[in-house]
């Protein structure tokens, strides 16, 4: 029982870690590229790395924090222009080739020993050289804090059944949310003939939000996590990181519901048709590339807030994790990137920790469980693409038409 709880606790810690939030922001940007505009950007890690370098190097050189953030964003902006100007006039595949190579170039330049004074070479930049500027901003105070403050230990002296009850409530809320969500989706389908009921409109949406909130509370009620309030890896970083995730989601929502978002989808569907309607396709694609890239840079900055700037940590694999998370959650959906990222990283930790706990070391060593988790995640992705290609939140109707 304790092993299971330890595993679940590790999963929850991963789910709310700043790293997950950082990748979620990058995936939100990638969603703008791939999901909405149809741009095959395989270099999102390059945007992240540039953002991280610009941010950290500026801070190391005593640049004020807001300016350091602007430097990171500015680098990504220039990077997007440099990538976009030659390739966005061509067919989509060329962008894929150029972005993946450009991201690798950034990584290798970062590793150059000639640049050791600036980037720290392959060692990277130590977190303590730039993190204080951010940590010092914390107004959370000292000491530790537990989420949720009122948890199972406060009821019946933390008996096992209270905890199990919390878990059950969480599971029930998930199931209920899925049911309400399906109902909402059916209601949105114009071909539906069944009469509308109360749960189909705003009430259903409110119910879904309330269910999610209750479920989250039940989760942390059963599995409270404790971190320092401020500190390098405390609640302050997490709060900022997830606030940024929420803000990014909001910005993307505002963008894609507008006529500008319609332009993006039009470009995704057919560039020539958009030209024949008098639209400057190149400009639209460039705007999308830049904005998605800026989200990538922001994600990179958040990523290094609780760790170090290490060029290999933001390599190709982050790009492919991002794509996996995006497909898992559902491309061209608002909440898909966040849901996909959280599930992807949680699932990997769940598999890794389970393998570590239950598979004897003679069969699989601790290092191999890490690799095993990636294998399982890879297989899961293959199955996902075959059986639910639209992802968790995606719209299956859209996939009926081959474009």
């Amino acid at each position: 029982m304790d092993t299971i709880l330890d595993i679940l606790s590790a999963v929850i810690r991963e789910a709310i870690s700043p790293g997950t939030a950082a990748v979620a922001i990058a995936v939100i940007g990638l969603n703008l590229h791939f999901g909405y505009t149809g741009l095959l950007n395989f270099g999102q890690s390059g945007f992240m790395l540039l953002g991280a370098y610009g941010f950290a190097i500026s801070l190391v050189h005593d640049v004020p924090l807001p300016l350091a953030v602007l430097v990171g964003l500015g680098l990504a902006f220039v990077f997007a222009l440099v990538l976009g100007i030659p390739t966005l006039q061509l067919r989509g595949d060329y962008l894929a080739i150029v972005t993946i190579s450009a991201a690798e170039i950034i990584r290798f330049v970062g590793r150059l020993s000639n640049l050791k004074d600036l980037t720290g070479g392959a060692q990277g930049i130590q977190g303590r050289t730039y993190q204080p500027a951010f940590v010092d901003l914390s107004f959370f105070g000292d000491g530790a804090w537990t989420l949720a403050p009122f948890n199972y230990t406060d009821v019946a002296d933390g008996a096992g059944w209270v905890r199990a009850l919390g878990g059950l409530v969480f599971a029930a809320c998930i199931v209920a949310t899925v049911l309400v969500g399906r109902r909402l989706k059916r209601a949105a389908d114009p071909t539906r003939t069944a009469p509308r009921t109360g749960l189909d409109g705003t009430l259903g949406k409110v119910a879904a939000v309330v269910l999610v909130l209750i479920g989250l509370y039940a989760l942390f009620f059963a599995m409270p996590v404790t971190y320092g309030r401020s500190g390098v890896n405390g609640w302050w970083v997490r709060a900022v990181a997830w606030t940024l995730v929420a803000l990014s989601t909001l910005v993307v929502y505002l963008l894609v519901r507008s006529p500008w978002g319609r332009l993006l989808r039009g470009v995704r569907e057919d560039e020539d048709a958009m030209r024949s309607l008098g639209r400057n396709v190149f400009a639209v694609k460039m705007q999308s590339l830049v904005i998605g890239g800026l989200f990538g840079a922001l994600g990179g900055m958040v990523y290094v807030l609780a760790s170090t700037v290490q060029p290999d940590a933001l390599g190709r694999q982050i790009t492919f994790f991002s794509y996996t998370a995006l497909l898992l959650g559902g491309a061209a959906t608002i909440l898909g990137p966040v849901l996909g990222t959280v599930l992807f990283f949680s699932a990997r930790i769940l598999i890794r920790e389970s393998a570590r706990a239950y598979v004897p070391d003679s069969i699989m060593s601790a290092q191999q469980t890490e690799q095993f988790s990636f294998i399982v995640v890879g297989v899961a992705l293959v199955l996902l693409v075959i059986f639910r290609p639209q992802g968790i939140l995606g719209n299956k109707r859209e996939l009926r038409f081959n474009v």
Binding site: P190, T191, V251, L254, L255, R257, S258, P259, W260, G261, R262, L263, R265, G266, R268, E269, D270, D272, A273, M274, R275, S276, L277, G278, R279, N280, V281, Q287, I291, R397, E398, R400, F401, V403
Partner: protein
């Protein structure tokens, strides 16, 4: 500036159109009274093949002009060239075309559309994973909500969005697609997509609409209604240029016919007379189409020699023209 001539109600009257075109000599490159589109020396080569080689062409404002020709005559390539989807090989050496008094020789496809010349495609380009309504809304020009900075603030574009939606609904109702407005465009039938593409092009209030084989793959009943739509557009004052293979359709609705063959404009004229033009018959059926190969006379030495001589003369003439052209280009370069 053109608003006064566009929408002249008199052109809805067939007699008026006939009178308008009566003064035009039915020959390739004839000058029109009030041309909306003028094309000069436009040539497109793909390697050794000259797909389009048009010396001069004018399209009269306010009428329906049909562009016909056998397969491979260069009609679609010609469309692509003047709408900016392709660049002429003769660019820089005299290729020039102007639309409504504005030169379009160096303009991109999107600017051509903005200038008021909107086209459709032979292979329909509907935006499949978007709703019919979204397809239509993309047709409207100058939407402030498409500006990146304004797009975030809904109040800045809500009003215009409503107007555009109303207009889209009107057009959809006219094209009998209104009940499909929330369906994905990809779920429409081929004919409905043709209608959608045409309706979408009309969202931008074009001065001239260019239809690339609007009837291809459309059933006869729908063809009738499409023809009705096209004629209604003309009666509202729009200029229509369309490519079509079906001669009945061409004869039925077009006021003027331009015939292309092997990249050149070989004939022009009113629909009823141009069909009997010798160059048109040759282009479609071959110069010896009425020679009966089963006839013994053909098999005699004399007849064969005569045909061979004709072919040789033909080739020599072609070569002479080509050489002259090469010389010209040589001089220029």
């Amino acid at each position: 500036m053109s608003e006064t001539t566009i929408g002249t109600p008199s052109l809805a009257d067939p007699a008026a159109r006939r009178a308008l075109m009566a003064g035009v000599t039915p020959e390739p490159g004839a000058a029109k009274q009030d041309p909306i589109l003028k094309v000069d020396k436009i040539e497109r080569r793909f390697g050794g093949i000259t797909a389009v080689d048009v010396e001069h062409l004018e399209v009269q404002r306010g009428i329906i002009t049909a562009l016909i020709g056998p397969n491979g005559a260069g009609k679609t390539t010609f469309f692509n060239l003047i709408t900016g989807f392709d660049k002429p090989s003769s660019a820089g050496s005299g290729a020039a075309w102007e639309f409504d008094g504005r030169s379009l020789s160096k303009t991109s496809a999107s600017s051509v559309a903005k200038a008021g010349m909107v086209r459709t495609f032979q292979l329909t380009k509907s935006l499949n994973r978007m709703t019919v309504m979204d397809n239509m809304m993309l047709g409207a020009q100058d939407q402030s909500g498409e500006n990146l900075l304004k797009s975030v603030f809904k109040p800045l574009w809500r009003g215009q969005e409503k107007d555009v939606e109303e207009k889209a609904k009107e057009l959809l109702a006219r094209f009998k697609l209104l009940e499909k407005k929330d369906d994905y465009a990809g779920s429409l039938s081929g004919g409905q997509r043709k209608l959608l593409e045409m309706a979408r092009a009309l969202m931008s209030d074009p001065k001239m609409i260019m239809l690339d084989e609007p009837m291809a793959g459309v059933n006869p009943a729908l063809t009738q209604s499409l023809l009705g739509h096209i004629q209604a557009l003309r009666d509202e004052g729009m200029t229509v240029l369309f490519v079509e293979h079906d001669m009945h359709v061409v004869r039925h609705i077009s006021d003027w016919v331009v015939v292309m063959a092997e990249g050149r404009v070989v004939a022009e004229g009113p629909a009823d007379t141009v069909m009997s033009n010798q160059a048109v018959i040759d282009a479609y059926l071959g110069a010896h189409h009425d020679t009966d190969l089963g006839d013994d006379e053909v098999l005699t030495e004399g007849a064969l020699e005569q045909i061979e001589a004709e072919v040789r003369a033909d080739e020599a003439a072609h070569e002479a023209v080509d050489e002259a052209k090469h010389d010209q280009q040589g001089d220029k370069s």
